[in-house]
Symmetry: D2
Subunit: 339 residues, 4 copies
């Protein structure tokens, strides 16, 4: 870290800064600049105590961290896996995968029709939520354990990997049998207790970015999972909250590009939640492919006009199939192959 001192720091204040740095386990290197003095603290920031406490001193202007705070998932470390295996699919490493399916499980018939529709349209995995974190307590909250039973039946019949959101540690055991990829939603993106508990299952985790998480916070959330011993993390950019209201969120493909630079983890994009309106989902889906995404997660519902949640952004199976057909050439020129 760099400790920037106030403009008129005295010699004894500089000495005090140096001794503080030393007592925290770092080696101080002091540089007297034209205008300010800085003290560079040499040492492994992740191993030693934080120097931020030095900001307490009135002669300190500010503290600047140098090291990146994620290690295990860092491309620089080279240690993280390039692919996440789910059933017989290798996610990442040039393969492009699509997750399709309804926002929420509403009945067996709806799950069956929507899930089969997604598969027929080109999806590799099927999503469907039994537990829905909704902004209002008066909105449909999901079918809960009954929904899980439907999911289990659908999975048995369709034989395909299932992606489903988990919102409580208490649901892990119930979900384990019928869920192949645990989805962490945007509202729980910084719920570290949940992240650690789900990580312990060893299953693949689709980690959505928090709606107001910085890229660094998103990657550190992934680091929580990997540090727990579970390397099977799929990052998912789904739009961030900004001042713009014409779309539900603002899709941040720069975050996708930065995440690909910083880590070797596969990165998916969720154009459905980013848009919040079906008319621009195709444009965002193509853009995500072109920007280097490893996959997409898209909401598909047999009858969006009857959906109990997210009706404005779910595609019919027909529209979904058309979308997948439209993005095929983009996947190809992006150098990826659709499994």
């Amino acid at each position: 870290m760099i400790i920037v001192l106030k403009k008129n720091a005295t010699a004894s204040e500089i000495a005090s800064a140096e001794s503080n740095v030393r007592s925290l386990g770092y080696e101080p290197h002091t540089i007297r600049g034209a205008v300010r003095t800085i003290v560079a603290a040499v040492g492994d920031e992740s191993a030693n105590a934080s120097l931020e406490a030095l900001s307490v001193h009135p002669f300190v202007d500010r503290i600047i961290p140098i090291q990146k705070r994620y290690k295990l998932i860092s491309r620089e470390s080279g240690a993280n896996p390039l692919v996440v295996n789910v059933c017989d699919h290798q996610i990442g490493n040039g393969n492009f995968h699509i997750i399709g399916g309804p926002c929420a499980i509403e009945s067996y018939e709806q799950m069956k029709a929507s899930g089969d529709g997604a598969l027929a349209g080109g999806a590799h995995f099927v999503r469907g939520g039994a537990f829905k974190p909704r902004t209002s307590p008066y909105d449909f909250q999901g079918m809960g354990s009954e929904g899980l039973d439907i999911l289990a039946r659908f999975r048995k019949e369709a034989g395909c990997p299932i992606v489903s959101e988990i919102v409580s540690e208490g649901d892990i055991d119930a979900m384990l049998p019928m869920v192949d990829v645990f989805q962490i939603g945007t509202r729980n993106a910084l719920n570290y207790s949940l992240l650690q508990a789900v990580a312990d299952t060893g299953k693949a985790i689709l980690l959505k970015r928090g709606m107001s998480s910085t890229i660094e916070e998103w990657l550190l959330a992934a680091e929580y999972i990997v540090k727990q011993g579970n390397p099977n993390v799929i990052l998912c950019e789904r739009g961030i909250r900004t001042f713009e209201t014409a779309t539900r969120n603002t899709l941040d493909l720069g975050a996708l590009a930065v995440a690909k630079q910083e880590t070797n983890l596969p990165v998916f994009v969720d154009p459905s939640h980013a848009a919040g309106r079906r008319d621009i989902i195709p444009a965002l889906a193509k853009a995500a492919v072109a920007a280097g995404a490893d996959g997409l997660i898209i909401e598909v519902h047999q009858h969006p006009e009857q959906a109990l949640s997210d009706s404005a952004q779910q595609l019919t199976p027909e529209d979904f199939k058309e979308l997948v057909d439209d993005i095929r050439p983009f996947i190809k020129v992006a150098g990826k192959s659709l499994a």
Copy 2:
């Protein structure tokens, strides 16, 4: 709700919109405007199915909700309590309360010195976290159950109400004996599973606003708790995430003012997390009092420069006492009384 049709909607499309509205349990009132036709759907939006699904139709431009989505906590409903009782304190209703104490419990000595310091400085309640949700998995995560033991001992000696953050449903039982007010932190502000589980304890809940929650989302989170049968909610504005980086968050006192208009719940302000830097905490604390806050929560640590978390924003007991003395006249002219 209002269904706004596209500019050139045909007669049959208008009829279709009307029949859809009817089938969802509402009475349609169609108004042909100079440029557009709108269909007003009359009926209780919270009781009937959501009309948002109508946005599926290509002739619909957009759907506009009219009703407010919170009911139990609404000032219009008049049904919610004006005060939250914690031990022998009546929070709200013209009383002003201060919560002080360290960010995290680090040892018995630290908790004792910091908590006693806060009490000596004028705090009515003492805060201290045993579980700390930290952005990096390499940062201090709190002492856990050992911290709870320290909290229990401190509470026994000091005899004052304790405020402590809960981050997992699994910790409720362990925390019940020594916690008087459960704090829901900003990262769990939309963790509805946790909100409901904590609500079931019946204890008072200090509900921080999510760092990117709208006022409506924040109030609906409170509605989740009250709907669960627990009316003891204290709202807490703690700053929102914006583009500004000179402060840790942007304190939104407009949200405090709006919340006071919309509900009868007491509203606290956390200037420590809003500022993230100790030099401007007094200015924000005074502003919160003047804007109508019912209380403050402020981080106090015996030795901020040794703190294992939030060192930059914790006040010494001396600085805290000075701050409380400084805000006394503001509390008085704001028409509130310091208990």
Copy 3:
């Protein structure tokens, strides 16, 4: 507009709302809902006085506009041009164009090398700024009129259309001879005096989105220009300001998609300013093409490491050529043709 009344509005208050609506030139249609009464005001919102003034009355909860505020550029109006002609180029209508060149003009040699480099790499137009609005008054502010002379010389030799930013009405006359497309930068995106004055020249205008402009504000800024009698507007999305700091701005391709839905104006994308860092410019450029952009504007400098502004985001001519080659297949599968 819709006037939503407070929950307990009395009969006389409703009558007052109706009479107010009438006096402002609208026809009131009152609908008594299950919970609230609303008054729909029928009439052309753009022709009549604004009903927003009604929010003054204590019985009014809020006012909701129904009509879109832009008319001339609206796709619904069908009246706006599909192409913008610049020299012999038809911008829009399936053609894809690229603007390349340095952020600022620094010398004849630099402009010549960078501009020729951009052209050799595939640019159709060359950019170069003589007037630079810089955050700090101590940063390089552009060469001013001397820069315009260089631009004129370069244009004469290269024979290609020139795009250059204008920051003051006072510079219009001096810039007219050597500028083919006036660029309005993000800081002046809501400077309506400048927009109108530049519109009066009749020349094509590249209108960047303000860094915190909503899509509606951006389109209304275009409406200002077209209303002035100049239909030659090229919209340009260049990223918005959000909480994320890993990129200079957050590229909002949803805004591109919405603008394409709402208007027939061509829309360009500026990945250089969105990224602020050269490593992710290619990813964002490809994404923009896939999302439906009609063109790109990219900063190219012969020696980025010596650039007096925006050095971190300017590409060398070699990197620019590689980028253009990389995006060619994306342009093709997007159904557009590179002129």
Copy 4:
């Protein structure tokens, strides 16, 4: 500045970084850390060329500036004035001033009634806009030169200082006779051409913060004015654009507090534009006083329900008087005196 090198930078890359630093006029100090090597560049950052260009090199991870970019207005420099004199008023230095008056000049009668009402209510200065930058070209744009005539007449009769917004360099001469304080609005907060031209008049300038300006950008805009030789700058916080829509903007009193720490310039607050709704203006006004503001600017209109702009946020003279009376005790306990 600090140049942070990539993790595996070689000896020759480090040498290259050092030589580059030297060639830009700085002295390099290289520190080999546990994980990364950094090169501290010693020299006056405001005098030498920017080191940001070094980010071009592939072995550079990032560049971190150390110095603050504003000098003349910096509290550290100690050189800036403590008060701004307007007519016989000393703004700043413990005095508290209030600007009241209508958003826009609509007629002589309206200006007279509203302005006199503001003065009767306790305003020291009267505001009124002849030029209104409106989001839509179909909204009232102000009366222009006719408005200036009304302003001149009002000023002659009322004998009080006038604050009025300027939106174009071309209006300076016409406004000089009847304007005592030029207001720079939020849309022109980064319009440096306008700032410099208005600075040249030597008159006092009320500089509003751009709706998405960081505190640093806001202070640098003030630096532009002072560097031009005009020290009479009054900063004005008026709310920033965030995701929250319940208020027009989010008032950032942390920015007020930081600006007071960083500079000696007086800082005003505009609760009217921050709120955008009259019900919470009093709360925000009191909060601004308590946070240390040197003054307020508040919109006052004789008949808000007939106002041609900002009707939702203008106060009647009666409400304004009540507000001023309500904040008097807050001004007193804040240690300021109302002139």
